[in-house]
Symmetry: C4
Subunit: 215 residues, 4 copies
């Protein structure tokens, strides 16, 4: 169909705009929880009120960083996408679904980490598995259905690989939840550090693969 050719750029822009909107709202919503904690309970000072609700602050911070990392990865992976098809919209929709849900497991983690650490961490970790699956599904679809320019294909393979590793990593962390509390927490902290700079990591992986090929 020639109907679909020359609309590609406009298409990608709109998917990005809609996704940006969803990310922006998901990242901001948890502050509402913070503000509701403020309502005056008689005779308690500010500092005490804030200290009483340190869990809400923790949830806000973890939720914010999680969604920011997702957005940075989304942003990086989208840079190379030139076309879009209907199935892509659905895979992206699934990612947005998981991102929108993120405030919920984060609130659970903050609320129940002391009382039921295993269940709270497992629910939190399950969310991360879903995010990794969605990210991998996007990159695999883009790679397999040639939604990018030819010269980028080799390089984009690294992204596909990166998020496949993320699934495995998250599955391991999820299983360890039922054995330990500290280990999965450390693993999730490491995950943040690793996916903080997806472009740099993907480039490194790409260079290595190229070097190995040449040998």
């Amino acid at each position: 169909m020639e109907h679909t050719r020359n609309r590609n750029i406009k298409e990608t822009t709109r998917v990005e705009a809609f996704s940006d909107g969803v990310f922006a709202i998901a990242i901001t919503l948890l502050v509402l929880e913070l503000i509701t904690t403020l309502h005056p309970e008689n005779g308690i000072g500010i500092v005490q009120t804030c200290l009483d609700h340190w869990r809400s602050f923790l949830a806000f911070t973890i939720g914010f960083i999680t969604i920011l990392v997702c957005w940075i990865n989304h942003h990086t992976a989208f840079e190379y996408i030139k076309k879009i098809d209907t199935r892509f919209l659905w895979i992206n929709g699934f990612l947005l679904f998981v991102v929108t849900l993120t405030p919920f497991p984060t609130a659970i983690l903050a609320e129940y980490l002391e009382k039921e650490p295993t269940t709270a961490l497992a629910i939190f970790g399950f969310n991360y598995i879903l995010i990794a699956i969605a990210a991998n599904a996007i990159c695999t679809h883009v790679y397999n259905h040639h939604l990018l320019e030819k010269e980028d294909k080799e390089y984009y393979y690294s992204f596909k690989l990166l998020y496949r590793y993320a699934i495995v990593y998250n599955l391991i962390a999820f299983c360890l939840c039922f054995v330990s509390v500290i280990v999965p927490i450390c693993m999730y902290a490491l995950l943040f550090a690793f996916f903080a700079a997806p472009k740099e990591v993907a480039s490194m992986m790409h260079k290595r693969r190229m070097a190995r090929k040449r040998r």
Copy 2:
């Protein structure tokens, strides 16, 4: 008026940006309901709390998919629009009104499906009729007032037709609500499947019409 000519592209972009914003917020708002369910009721564990509120999760998921399907259809139908007039803004505004309202009948469905299945399904179905009417009104207006390029017109007719069928289909489902519970639920599930890929369906309809014409 020559005032309006060369501003078309900018115009369409802004209508899309505003619509994207409304879609993005409507699709995210229901998670707020989920989070409020979390507030500690003494002595109940996470899993139990979540199970107690499975209806809110169901409402979130159905609402998310409904609005995502609307967005995908909006996105597809807008790709071909080249110009915009004031009446178009109002028809699009009506669509956004119905989309913004969507979390409400969805919450009703989840809350009252067991207690008052007929009324809950009827309200839910009425919302879908309004969505179909709005979508059809957009496509009909675009088609009749030549807001697209000439070579797309023949193809765009399929969209107009598609949403006209959707109105009829939703009217039938609405009427069946008063007779059965299972039948309309299945019909709405089928509707999701059908409008999940509007471009592909419209292309198929277009090809058939062309083949019939040639005969």
Copy 3:
């Protein structure tokens, strides 16, 4: 300063994107009120629950239409703007402030129209005066500081005039609030109809002015 020249288009786009975001959120927020009304009060059916809260539905609808009309006018007035300066950002910020507040007087109108019609209508009307002042301030600033192309200037004067009439009209409606209930309500309904199509009205005013000049 040459620093500011060739960034104009990018600048306008961003102001529009930010404004669109604020409009989109303001227009969607009132649905949250609707959803909270749903929470189960034992033994009351859906239809009864909805009827009990008809005021919230009314507020939602009036608020939605008000903000949609504002957006359509904002959209129309921005089409001609080519440059932007700092003072413009502040005037636009004032408009957004009033738009963001709009759900509040609308909720007051719905809540108190029966109990305290005069005060409720006066607060509602005061909001409209502020909107008209902000709209007029934007157009006057754009016109006086040449933020548009020369050939559009003559035409844009009609917008400036249109919103000046709106201020006067709203002031009259505001004063009549203290005398009657029906009259200002009719005047606000008429206002919607008039500002539903600002481009058409401005064009009509422009043609008349041109015809008068030629004589």
Copy 4:
């Protein structure tokens, strides 16, 4: 890496779109607080209800102006940015984090200014220090890593300087919170006035520096 070159414009646009979304939501959220104050407490009129909650109105207004000033500065500083790297995304993410939090210290200020003025002002002021640090970090990063065009570099130095002054100014205001109430309030009001027009102030600083150099 040549992969990253010709995607710069698209990249900047998306960072702006996401940031605009976050700003737009943060600036609108406080109105929710206002609307919840409306719920009918028996026998109290509108005017009385509004007067009882004047603090919420104050918080809304201060929060709105704070975030609007941030957006105007963000907008101005971004105009000159031509490229983006991963570290930039994180610095911008930190700014958005502080902006998203802003409704919280603002609500504290409004709620506790009478009861615990020192603590309330200190928390409010601490937020401003963070904003100034984030703004300075963005400008310094852009300047040092050449994310702008060469001819703009000299001029952009003024922005870097401007926000460095802002940090010092806010630190002084923060310290004075523990001594006085009136002085820091006046200092924050002055701050609004100063950062209301960042482009004009930066241009003035730029001209002075150039004049001094020529001597």
